[in-house]
């Protein structure tokens, strides 16, 4: 029998030249890979900021934020971002009105009422719904939801805010439902059982104990859902039309910030024109909106988190 000196073997393993080299090199390589995520952020900021800056040397910043007309394609163009923001706002408000009650209701059902079996059936369905490409949702909006709405309300035009708004809402339901359900499920069972033992019904437990305890996570899920709705592109490009306007009309064609970017880039925006640079100014505004929403969601989760 050979005598193995374990300590020696470990020492050999550690002193082996290639092992030593790998141990030193790996963290460095991995750090370089990790820094790509930082570079991506820098790339986005650099792209948006530099081109937006050029845009504002041609069109005044004051006009951009105060004018109420967006006529980028006109020979006498006007760049009032408010018109595009209004378009986005209409979609987001309708989507939120659909997604928040439905998403929260589904989350309450899954977390507090459903049996394990029902949960095992429903959750994959929500996952499938979350994985459907937005171009498919957009087609669904224009070929199914819009005709349905126009049948019920004949005054609505082919392109309107209601149909894409509702469909964007449906698109973010799975996200709100699953994040809210996570928040509610993480309320400890003892809290829930304490409430039930005092004679509260399930419903009273939900509204007086679970929802307040999970509020931070639930509100964060709403904010993230809204942020997703702001950035949603294909549904509004397909079903909302391309007529920017700073009005409150939900029944006629409109344009969102994302819709404008798609409209310009699907045509040939000649490099160096005002139209080309306006693309980045709109992109910057869009980026800022979603960034603020995402930071708000993170802040809410951190600040109001209940510790058990």
């Amino acid at each position: 029998m050979n005598e193995y000196n374990i300590r020696e073997m470990i020492q050999n393993n550690k002193n082996n030249k290639s092992t030593k080299f790998i141990e030193k090199a790996v963290p460095t390589i991995l750090f370089i890979i990790t820094s790509v995520s930082i570079l991506t952020t820098i790339g986005i900021l650099y792209t948006l900021l530099s081109e937006t800056f050029i845009f504002f040397t041609r069109v005044s910043f004051i006009e951009f934020i105060t004018a109420t007309e967006w006529k980028a394609f006109s020979s006498n163009p006007s760049f009032g971002i408010i018109a595009l923001i209004m378009g986005t706002l209409k979609i987001v408000v309708i989507a939120t009105m659909v997604a928040v009650p439905v998403g929260l209701g589904a989350a309450i059902y899954l977390s507090e009422y459903a049996t394990d079996r029902i949960r095992r059936i429903v959750k994959p369905i929500l996952e499938i719904l979350a994985g459907i490409p937005t171009v498919v949702y957009g087609t669904f909006a224009i070929t199914f939801v819009t005709p349905l709405i126009r049948e019920m309300f004949p005054g609505v035009s082919l392109y309107n805010a209601i149909s894409p708004g509702v469909v964007v809402g449906i698109m973010i339901v799975p996200m709100i439902a699953s994040l809210s359900e996570d928040a509610m499920s993480s309320v400890p069972g003892t809290t829930r059982e304490g409430s039930l033992a005092l004679g509260a019904t399930r419903l009273e437990t939900v509204f007086k104990v679970i929802l307040p305890a999970a509020a931070s996570g639930i509100i964060a899920s709403f904010v993230l859902g809204i942020s997703r709705a702001i950035g949603e592109t294909m549904i509004v490009s397909i079903a909302a039309g391309s007529t920017p306007g700073a009005d409150f009309d939900l029944t006629s064609s409109l344009q969102t910030m994302t819709g404008f970017i798609v409209q310009v880039t699907s045509g040939d925006a000649a490099f160096g024109t005002d139209l080309y640079y306006s693309l980045y100014a709109v992109g910057m505004t869009l980026f800022l909106f979603t960034l603020i929403m995402n930071l708000a969601a993170q802040w809410i989760t951190k600040k109001f988190k209940e510790e058990y």
Binding site: I6, M9, N13, K14, T19, I22, V26, P27, L30, T34, V36, S37, T40, G43, I44, T47, P101, V102, G103, L104, G105, A106, Y109, Y113, V122, L126, E127, I128, L129, G131, I132, P133, T134, V135, V136, G138, T139, T143, I170, V173, T201, R202, L203, I230, G231, M234, S237, I238, T258, I261, V262, T265, L279, G283, L286, F287, T290, L291, M293, N294
Partner: protein, 292 residues
């Protein structure tokens, strides 16, 4: 001593339970909304597109005449696109996740990287399109090639895979890790031979789900300027290409009614591919996930 007025409770109990029951029903309805939409969407699409799902449709290039238009170029293009996106995204994300979970010191920089990744996950895809258009298409002069679009999509799905991979790595119990170190393995030996193999099912599931998001993503491709009427398939990553979701988007915008059926047929193909990818992901998750 009577602490609870029993009669009082009994009187209100019926109403409270009724409210509980009716609200439970309402919550159930909310849950069913998703199912109803999914079924409606699929039935509507299949009814419209089924008759156009022919062999000719699968093997023809796009055309301005609906009766001879097909989806061959778009399918091949999407495969090329994924062939670029997948390896780039996998190397970037798994590397990042390994660094953050195993090597990163607990300091401000690491914290910043983590926050940055979760913010990247929230950036709208159309903004990634602008990044791709400016950096890859214009500044690196890649044009609207497979490479430019693939890199853009890879950066876009990276945060999703990183988070999934981090969770998978974190789920490997520390006892396994300590056992390896206790046997005299170095850090990298532990990571590459113990932790990665244990975490790989979770990582692969995350990768497939992220790729199935990338394959249906349209907005960045529109911004980059991926063409919709090509009669060739790419021969390399520097060639331009068509993509499945772009083709669907192009058809749905067409005024002729015939194109609406082609749209539906295209969507059936896209959904079938997604269904297949998701099934594989679920299969891997169930089959290979280890319980310690």
């Amino acid at each position: 001593m009577q602490l609870v007025d029993k009669d009082q409770v009994a009187k209100s109990l019926g109403g409270r339970q009724l409210l509980n029951k009716s609200m439970k029903f309402l919550f159930l309805l909310c849950t069913l909304v998703g199912l109803v939409v999914l079924v409606t969407l699929i039935v509507d699409t299949v009814l419209d597109g089924w008759s156009h799902l022919t062999w000719d449709f699968l093997t023809s290039f796009s055309s301005s005449r609906p009766e001879s238009a097909g989806i061959y170029g778009a399918i091949i293009g999407s495969v090329w696109l994924m062939a670029v996106t997948a390896p780039v995204a996998i190397v970037l994300s798994v590397g990042t996740a390994l660094y953050l979970e195993e090597y990163a010191p607990k300091n401000r920089i690491t914290n910043f990287i983590t926050v940055n990744i979760s913010n990247l996950a929230g950036v709208p895809s159309v903004v990634f399109g602008l990044l791709g258009l400016t950096i890859f298409v214009r500044q690196l002069s890649l044009g609207n090639s497979v490479l430019a679009a693939g890199l853009t999509l890879a950066l876009m799905i990276m945060p999703v895979i990183v988070v999934a991979a981090q969770e998978a790595i974190r789920a490997v119990p520390s006892s396994v890790r300590e056992a390896s170190t206790g046997m005299g393995a170095t850090k990298w030996q532990t990571v590459s031979r113990i932790i990665l193999p244990a975490a790989i099912p979770g990582i692969i599931t995350g990768i497939i789900l992220a790729l199935s998001r990338a394959i249906g993503e349209t907005a960045p491709l529109v911004v980059i300027g991926v063409p919709v009427s090509l009669l060739v398939t790419p021969n390399g990553v520097f060639d331009t290409f068509q993509a499945l979701p772009m083709q669907i988007y192009n058809w749905v915008k067409m005024p002729q009614e015939e194109f609406q059926y082609l749209t539906a047929a295209g969507i059936i193909i896209l959904l079938l591919i997604l269904f297949l990818m998701n099934s594989v992901a679920i299969y891997i998750r169930n089959k290979y996930s280890k319980r310690f």
